[in-house]
Symmetry: C2
Subunit: 194 residues, 2 copies
């Protein structure tokens, strides 16, 4: 399966595209292969692309003064990743987007995305739904962060992202959960001995 077939199947799950729209979309996508630890975005840069993950996995994270990383989201196959705040407002990002596995992606630039919005209105709707899903994810995550313990958040992570559990090192999962790797290790130990 080619990368284009992959993303077209993805769009079909929202609203199917006709031939003209498929052509308009694929002609504006750039395929890239990125190695592990390579960046799509670094703090201070303006986010220029919306990225669709064909294969592999990325993390989007912020870093505090002392250099500690805080994972906000993971994005694996069939998912989108971008600092939407920076992309839309054209302001320097506070975030990094980095490959945690060797990955294949399709990227569309902000300008080309705007072209699609203007000339092929269906994309307005599809991308709006995609962004709304991201919004919902963030809101649920914030609420969960406040209202549940690290144990509960770990269980929730396991059931929400069962396939990521085995692919990501626990240090990365701990950062996503907002705890130290040492404490995650303790949680995992307690889970097994019960």
């Amino acid at each position: 399966m080619t990368a284009f077939q992959n993303i077209l199947a993805h769009f079909d799950r929202y609203i199917p595209l006709d031939e003209t729209e498929k052509q308009a979309l694929t002609s504006r996508l750039t395929e890239r292969r990125v190695k592990r630890k390579q960046y799509l975005l670094q703090e201070g840069d303006v986010c220029k692309h919306f990225t669709y993950v064909v294969a592999g996995c990325f993390k989007m994270y912020g870093v505090d003064k002392s250099g500690t990383e805080y994972n906000l989201v993971f994005a694996a196959e069939d998912d989108w990743v971008a600092d939407i705040a920076s992309l839309h407002k054209e302001l320097p990002s506070k975030l990094f987007i980095e490959a945690v596995e060797a990955s294949t992606i399709l990227q569309i630039s902000k300008g080309d995305l705007w072209y699609l919005y203007t000339n092929h209105p269906k994309f307005n709707r599809t991308f709006r739904v995609i962004i709304e899903d991201k919004y919902t994810e963030l809101q649920n995550r914030l609420l969960q962060t406040y209202s549940s313990t690290a144990h509960e958040r770990y269980e929730q992570f396991l059931s929400q992202y069962p396939n990521l559990t085995n692919r990501l090192p626990n240090t990365q999962i701990a950062s996503y959960l907002g705890i130290t790797p040492e404490f995650l290790s303790k949680i995992r130990n307690e889970r097994l001995t019960k």
Copy 2:
């Protein structure tokens, strides 16, 4: 100043509206006065309106199994409030929106908002920017929640919302910061004795 003049001035700060657009907007807005502790949305309901706050203040919050409230956002004058996730997807909300002061609001229903999007394209852009701002706010808040202490978050709150500081009881601010009122009291005490 009437409520309509108020919201039209608000839109002028984004992209000015022409007479036809002003008419299309104001004819679809419903003015309401709500008392303190009255709800705009309760858990389990589908969010039906986008609400503009003319005067007063609201909190949007979630509640855990034990009944504890977690404030996600406050919305005061010139701000918008809605559970965007529930509004767009027409799914039951996990959140409450409640007046913390007697307030005056203007509401637009989802159907009327869609009408404006379709027939007056400028609203697409204006509301998209409004929603993007909400998105940015959430993302910054999540990052800050992970990367800074309660002391730092309180200082940040004071500088970001100086006018809310005096209007909201500290119990509500504590809930927004993700701490207990007792601990906020301690923080405030330490701030003053230094």
